[in-house]
Symmetry: C2
Subunit: 463 residues, 2 copies
């Protein structure tokens, strides 16, 4: 079905791609064989750092004509193997297409290449008093990768996810054709939303080479509340009450003492408080303290009325940094606590988070493994880690797959979905197929076939 | 390709659909031959008022097996012929599936059947102190129709469009299979977004039989500012300044004196002020006057600093009603001012609205026809009406098509799209195809074929 990359193919690519952006076979370092969680591994035959839409189009025309698979990769921070070239072929890295092309203050948009990092984007727009609200924990992810997984992040409670901030995309299709999806417009009812189909399609329907993103004016004031509770159940019971209070929090994060202690260890820094089992971290933003103070005071009152021990006001830069650095380090800290781990990124209705965490605690006991978790409580999206902790290979694989099967089944029973924000990629495919069933998967396969009849774009992912 | 409805087919449907929900051929009143703008006309062979998902599934299984086209209709308030059975067959009306099934305050969702009217939905959720933000002018539209066109409305500036408030859909596919897309979850990165593909697909990919909608807490205070300017250009030049000011308006509507006078005539009611050529109508909402007063004061200042004559504070229910009643009556008022009209619903980047309106003024002069307009200035979405004003048929058709061709070409040149919120349906198909080109239309046809290989769902629409 696919052709291996041959010397003649390499010679063709060498004819227009300089050698510092083109690497063959044994010259490819193994960082490019896997993503952030290395469960899925495969070597590409060719690694190309793309420079422009035109170049990507030329590469795709050739790959299409010669049936060579092409897997797109940003900075490789994914967790589900989406950016691994599992069928070999070309790994097309867009990380060097990292220019910010235009800021349009009249239309409140920024136009970027896909390789711009989240942290670079944030710094740039904020220096212009503008704001790109999606805020995934991994700031060294590329915006192209974020669009490809419809990344979520901390501020989704108030501001929504990446999908809500993509106005337009330039996409190179499997055939090499270039299309512009969407535009610098706020509304659009002009046929099927190919734009929304491309968002979250993990490089299987096209290659994003440019994006127009929606911005907001930068809120001038942000404050956080750190709210300790005696128990996880009490903390999470307060979440729906806050959500419907009209206090408009930007973020509602849940953290257990266990996870905070990992982060303290990992960062070598103290967290403001670790006396209690469970914490909510709430954020509020607005133009002034006076605009938001009614809101955060009322949210603090709701917490206190519902079992919170206290509500610490986090206003200084130093305290904010200590709390949010810890929150940002959770994944790395848990990773550092074990030899290997895999993750489950289910999203359940907000009302079922406590039930789901309780279930993972019981499961950890039942399987005699460690399953730490943390989560975006305000949007029902949990990050749950299954830790190997020195288990032999056979036991680990067996416990891991049992844990996954049970957790995805429980999520489905609670009305949840397989992935809240990390995507399906290669690793979560069986669970997606199990969850959605044949009819929906056949629709997805039909869409895939319409976009990529030769299945050369990121093969073996999602569908 | 399609089979006509035969007596045996009718007998089959009569076997499970009572006679008060099933109408054949000459028994179908001609209200069901067209939508709100009657340019597109065709009689269905059978009109069925569906009662349940199961029944719709049974109808589709039969229609699929017998290659009978099925066009879905809500309350028929569309403007582009999307709900007209242009190939005959079955017109499936979901207007009687009008139950509100569940309010979930913990997850802030409401579950509805597709025939619930916008005004019923608003009244219901607001009686529970909750808020469904999308606010299209036509309140007697069904929610199913709103989802099918991705309707926008007044509050899109702050809150976004219908797409942003659909959490889940129950959909009957062409084959009669029933799928659940999405869920009561806030984030979702679980494969291609079939949910977002279904939204805005105007009944061509499936029949929506249930929807879970996202709600917000109801803002306790809403105020409006009516801001007169000497000229349209001055009014619209203020819009991007307001948008990026961080004052967070809910709505920014533009209205010209002409249009206001039509509405005064039509309603027989006085508008608060008609002394100037151009007006902006701004709305702000929040939990209290104190929370929003900094914002609306600053927005008023920005207007005054940029040429506004004044900024009238619209706070009493009576004044609010007078202003918003007029705004809501614009379409009907223009319609009443002429014998026939057709509309153009382009959306352009916010920065180009004034240029576009200037262009329509020049075009009206050039073609010697009347082209009144009004618009959602804050989101670049204009509603432009070409009035027949007694022209003979040949002249009217010729001027209408010239006007459309020129306006859509100008919109494209400004980076705009064919439809901001009214959809493509039947009437706007040539302009969509012209605008998007073969590659994108082929992708859409591929999607259509994956969902509806026999092309029986709402044939001749969009693709």
């Amino acid at each position: 079905m696919y052709n291996p990359v041959q010397d003649a193919d390499i010679a063709y690519f060498q004819s227009f791609i300089p050698s510092d952006r083109l690497f063959c076979r044994d010259d490819i370092v193994d960082d490019y064989f896997h993503d952030e969680l290395s469960g899925t591994q495969h070597a590409p035959e060719l690694l190309i750092f793309a420079a422009s839409t035109g170049e990507v189009s030329r590469i795709m025309q050739y790959a299409y004509a010669h049936s060579i698979p092409v897997t797109t990769r940003g900075s490789g921070t994914g967790l589900v193997g989406a950016a691994v070239a599992v069928k070999g072929g070309i790994l097309l890295c867009t990380a060097k297409m990292n220019q910010i092309l235009e800021l349009d203050p009249e239309n409140l948009t920024v136009t970027v290449q896909p390789g711009v990092l989240l942290m670079e984007l944030a710094e740039y727009v904020e220096s212009h008093q503008l704001f790109y609200p999606p805020d995934p924990g991994e700031k060294s992810a590329t915006i192209g990768g974020n669009i490809s997984t419809n990344a979520g992040g901390m501020r989704a409670v108030r501001y929504g996810v990446t999908r809500d901030y993509v106005r337009a995309l330039t996409v190179v299709l499997a055939s090499g054709e270039v299309v512009q999806l969407g535009g610098k417009v706020v509304k659009n009812s002009s046929g099927y939303s190919l734009l929304n189909l491309m968002i979250g399609s993990e490089g299987t329907l096209g290659i994003i080479t440019e994006a127009v993103l929606k911005l907001l004016p930068l809120p001038e004031k942000t404050i956080s509340l750190l709210v300790p509770f005696e128990t996880m159940e009490a903390a999470l019971a307060a979440v729906p009450l806050i959500a419907r209070s009209g206090t408009n929090p930007t973020a509602i994060e849940y953290m257990s003492r266990d996870t905070i202690l990992f982060a303290e260890d990992y960062l070598g820094k103290q967290f403001p408080d670790t006396a209690y089992d469970a914490y909510l971290l709430l954020t509020f933003d607005g133009n002034s303290l006076s605009e938001i103070e009614q809101n955060y005071s009322r949210a603090a009152d709701i917490c206190i009325e519902n079992g919170a021990i206290d509500a610490y006001f986090i206003d200084t830069d130093e305290r904010k940094k200590s709390v949010w650095d810890a929150r940002g380090a959770f994944l790395e800290a848990i990773k550092a606590s074990t030899d290997e781990m895999d993750e489950c990124d289910v999203v359940v209705p907000r009302s079922r988070i406590a039930d789901f965490i309780t279930y993972t605690h019981a499961l950890a006991k039942e399987l005699d493994i460690r399953i730490p978790s943390f989560g975006h409580a305000g949007d029902g999206n949990l990050h749950i880690y299954i830790c190997r902790d020195g288990l032999d290979d056979a036991t680990w694989q067996q416990k891991l797959s049992t844990a996954f099967e049970k957790m995805y089944a429980k999520s489905a029973a609670f009305g949840g979905q397989v992935s809240g924000e990390h995507g399906i990629g290669y690793a979560k495919k069986p669970y997606l197929h199990e969850h959605l069933g044949t009819v929906q998967m056949d629709l997805m396969r039909g869409i895939k076939a319409a976009f990529d009849p030769k299945y050369i774009l990121n093969p073996e992912k999602i569908v």
